[in-house]
């Protein structure tokens, strides 16, 4: 599919409450810009992310999904992000198998002090998704509202 000039990707960012959500807040406090098509959903810990939520997002027309959690060793619940990492690795291989570009999903560790990293990550991720173009493979047209 040719890259549409008007293409505004829909990107869902799951952020754990303790580090990454605070990191996102910090990039706001510091007025660091990133594209408006990134929308954040707050979850208590990265380990709350059920891979099903990612599939759901793709099914509903998301073009990219990113999970942000505390750095390894810093999870508020000690081990949550290790579980998250393992689960995401499994999901990646499944998405590979389905032929969904690997770059559409990503895991990043962003601490509460890394406002700049959060913004940079989102800019970069959004650019990547832009290059990949709209995601149609998993989208369920029956779910479209228009």
């Amino acid at each position: 599919m040719p890259v549409n000039e008007e293409f505004k990707p829909t990107i869902v960012a799951f952020c754990c409450n303790w580090c990454s959500y605070a990191g996102a807040d910090l990039s706001g406090t510091n007025r660091l810009q990133y594209p408006a098509n990134v929308k954040i959903i707050r979850i208590p810990c990265s380990c709350r992310l059920n891979p099903m939520f990612i599939l759901r997002a793709f099914q509903r027309g998301a073009d990219g999904v990113i999970l942000c959690g505390c750095h390894p060793g810093d999870c508020h619940y000690t081990t949550g992000n290790y579980y998250a990492r393992r689960r995401m690795t499994l999901l990646f291989s499944m998405l590979d198998f389905l032929g969904i570009e690997r770059e559409r999903t990503r895991v990043e560790w962003v601490s509460a002090a890394e406002g700049a990293k959060f913004a940079a990550t989102m800019n970069e991720f959004s650019a990547t998704i832009h290059k990949l173009g709209p995601n149609r493979r998993l989208e369920d047209l029956r779910c479209r509202k228009d």
Binding site: T10, V12, Y21, A22, A24, D25, L26, S27, G28, T29, R31, L32, Q33, Y34, A36, K39, I40, I41, R42, I43, P44, C45, C47, R48, L49, N50, P51, M52, F53, R56, A57, R60, G61, A62, G73, D74, H76, Y77, T78, T79, G80, Y83, R87, A119, C143, K145
Partner: protein
């Protein structure tokens, strides 16, 4: 369907400058279930809050969405606002349109559009919110300290000082830990006993402290604020209430050949013993492995000489049940066993000793009365070689991967004390690096080198060979780039330290976590260093990682402060966003229990109605809401989708996803 009210905040111009707040309120008013939608300059102000409360009453709102700053800022404020108006505080959702919208976007249309979508997501979520009640659980106002070393003693003293009862459970016959065996302490060289024994006495005399010596914890049930603990008081065959500690029995006992473990086997004691003169409690204990009376029923000398009538050969282990609000682990450390280190001839020659043995050999109350003598022939050693990092910072299976932290300093201390007491001795220290981060530590080490003339050699000792009463030491000098051969009289090995062997079974009982080296892990390595991840369990001293005395005491007091804070509360408010299993779907597979970092999940057998009026008994998961911290790990681990998290349920999160993607 909920009756939702939407409140869009301007935050002065912080939001209103880049987001068309009026439009946001207008568009969101058309969302399903929204019965009222408005915007206002400062929602968090008194007037703003009153407006929210009025609207709740006027429109009978069952859900509230506030489009404002980050929930990390004002979620609690708005929850309280709504609660005062009679709405359950958990029926409030915040759409973060400041930090995550107006502050990062410049174009007003884009920002407005995004704010609307974020508002929609919050509305979609609030429709699925359920009223939650934060439960409370009572706090038992008593603390348990496991381990009576300097860490445990300090923690207990501080807790007792604040007016709470505290019990110390110590597995040895006396409290005091490793510090009782140490001679002098770096970096000030004051005598360990002089600073420790007064604290031991304080602990013994404090009305609020009860010491269970020669005791162990045998089971722990319950959770923060409400632990039920069984303490096993091991039979010591002496009635503690009668024994006066006169010590007559320990002189008359005919069984003289018992290795004295307090002196690390460097001399012998009797079968009935008091570990050392200042022991607390000062009560005799019979070593059942050596007592002839207990083994063959023949002897009874101690019973005959005891004028207090304290000896009781029939004594049995006693079990005591007690309830606690908080538990502090202070089980300390031990030097590792050196039997795998044949190259240093530790097992071949009595003149190769560990640093802790060396402390006893230098100690006025030790086996040699404080005169440094070779264990083999009782002669003064003239050349002493110290080897650092024995088993520390090792990548092989013999040793430990970490730095034991205290050895550099106590080796400098030993070398210095040797040179001070016996200026004619030659003292060598072999090291990988000398690590002296600590107040006055580097100065201390430099004094050893510069004032006391200790020969510090960078390099490792390759081999120690006992030969003709000497110890032939082969070593490399990395800076001089040469091989050294030293004829030493004594070799002292700075053995790595490791957690007490009883720590792992204890951690299992407490559902506290440990690292791969069996040190207890803290709730957060930087911000919560004295709490274990398990609520109500605190860490004190070397059980959490290698530590010297100043650090141990600092952590002990910090742990006490945390305990006092907890015991000061009558009730604990529990986080209501906890996991709950759907019992109809749960098949008792244990997947959730395995990932829960807090041990919040247990299983019960429950009756269910089966077909044709039968009853089925099934094992189902049960989450203790007082223990669950709401991370959600279990919800994803559950293969049958039975486990869900209140406040962040699968449906709620998917509703947000749908709202964002549509």
């Amino acid at each position: 369907m909920q009756r939702v009210g939407v409140f869009v905040c301007w935050c002065g111009s912080n939001i209103a400058a880049t987001v068309d707040v009026e439009k946001v309120a207008e568009v969101l008013a058309k969302e399903p279930g929204v019965v009222f939608s408005t915007n206002y300059q400062y929602m968090c102000s008194q007037a703003g809050q009153e407006m929210i409360q009025e609207s709740i009453r006027k429109y009978n709102l069952t859900g509230v969405v506030i489009c404002s700053c980050s929930p990390r800022m004002h979620e609690n404020t708005f929850r309280k606002t709504c609660e005062k108006a009679g709405l359950n505080p958990y029926m409030v959702e915040i759409a973060n349109i400041r930090e995550q919208c107006s502050w990062i976007h410049k174009d007003k249309d884009t920002a407005t559009e995004k704010a609307i979508i974020l508002g929609r997501a919050a509305i979609a979520k609030v429709h699925l919110n359920a009223p939650l009640t934060a439960g409370t659980s009572p706090v038992k106002k008593r603390a348990l300290v496991i381990g009576g070393g300097i860490a445990g003693i300090q923690t207990a003293l501080d807790i007792a000082d604040a007016g709470f009862d505290v019990d110390i459970v110590e597995k040895e016959p006396t409290i005091g830990g490793k510090m009782t065996q140490i001679d002098k302490t770096f970096p000030t060289l004051d005598c360990a006993a002089c600073i420790l024994t007064p604290k031991m006495v304080d602990a013994a005399q404090n009305e609020r402290i009860h010491i269970y010596s020669y005791s162990e914890v045998s089971s722990v049930r319950g959770f923060v604020g409400n632990f039920k603990v069984t303490i096993k008081k091991k039979a010591r065959f002496v009635d503690e209430t009668k024994c006066t500690g006169c010590g007559l029995c320990t002189e008359k006992c005919p069984q003289k050949k018992v290795p004295n473990l307090f002196n690390l086997g460097l001399d012998n004691r009797r079968a009935i013993y008091i570990p050392f003169a200042q022991a607390v409690p000062k009560v005799a204990t019979i070593d059942a492995d050596y007592c002839t009376m207990l083994k063959s029923g023949k002897c009874g000398v101690c019973s005959k000489v005891c004028t207090a009538g304290a000896i009781d050969y029939q004594q049995k282990d006693a079990f005591i049940e007690q309830e606690y609000g908080a538990i502090v682990v202070a089980t300390g450390f031990n030097p590792i066993k050196l039997d795998k280190y044949d190259e240093f001839a530790y097992s071949q020659s009595p003149d190769v000793v560990t640093s802790l043995e060396f402390e006893r050999l230098m100690n006025a109350a030790g086996p040699t009365g404080g005169t440094l003598l070779r264990p083999s022939d009782g002669q003064h050693p003239h050349t002493i070689v110290f080897v650092q990092c024995v088993g520390s910072r090792c990548d092989d299976s013999k040793g430990k991967p970490y730095c034991s932290k205290i050895c550099c300093m106590y080796t400098a201390k030993h070398a210095m004390l040797c040179r001070e007491k016996y200026p004619d001795t030659d003292v060598y220290v072999f090291y990988i690096d000398v690590r002296t981060p600590g107040k006055n530590f580097d100065e201390f080490y430099r004094r050893a080198v510069e004032e006391y003339g200790v020969h510090y050699v960078k390099g490792m000792v390759g081999k120690v060979v006992p030969e003709n009463g000497k110890l032939k030491v082969q070593a490399s000098d990395l800076i001089g780039n040469q091989q050294l051969h030293i004829d030493a009289d004594m070799v002292v090995l700075a053995a790595a330290i490791e957690p007490d062997k009883s720590a792992r079974p204890l951690a299992t009982m407490l559902t506290a976590s440990m690292d791969t080296n069996d040190f207890f892990t803290e709730a957060h390595p930087k911000l919560r260093p004295v709490e274990s991840p398990t609520a109500g369990i605190f860490l004190s001293g070397a059980c959490q990682g290698p530590k010297d005395i100043p650090e141990t005491v600092a952590q002990a007091s910090a742990a006490a402060a945390k305990v006092i804070g907890l015991l000061n509360k009558d009730h604990l408010i529990c986080n209501p966003c906890t996991a709950t299993p759907d019992e109809m779907m749960c098949n008792g597979c244990s997947s959730c229990e395995k990932v829960c970092p807090y041990g919040a999940i247990t299983y019960i057998d429950k009756e269910f109605r089966g077909p044709n009026r039968t009853t089925l008994i099934r094992r189902v998961a049960q989450v203790n809401p007082a223990v669950c911290q709401g991370c959600g790990a279990c919800t994803v681990a559950c293969p049958s989708g039975a486990m869900d998290l209140k406040g962040f349920s699968n449906k709620q999160i998917m509703a947000e996803v749908d709202a964002i993607c549509r």
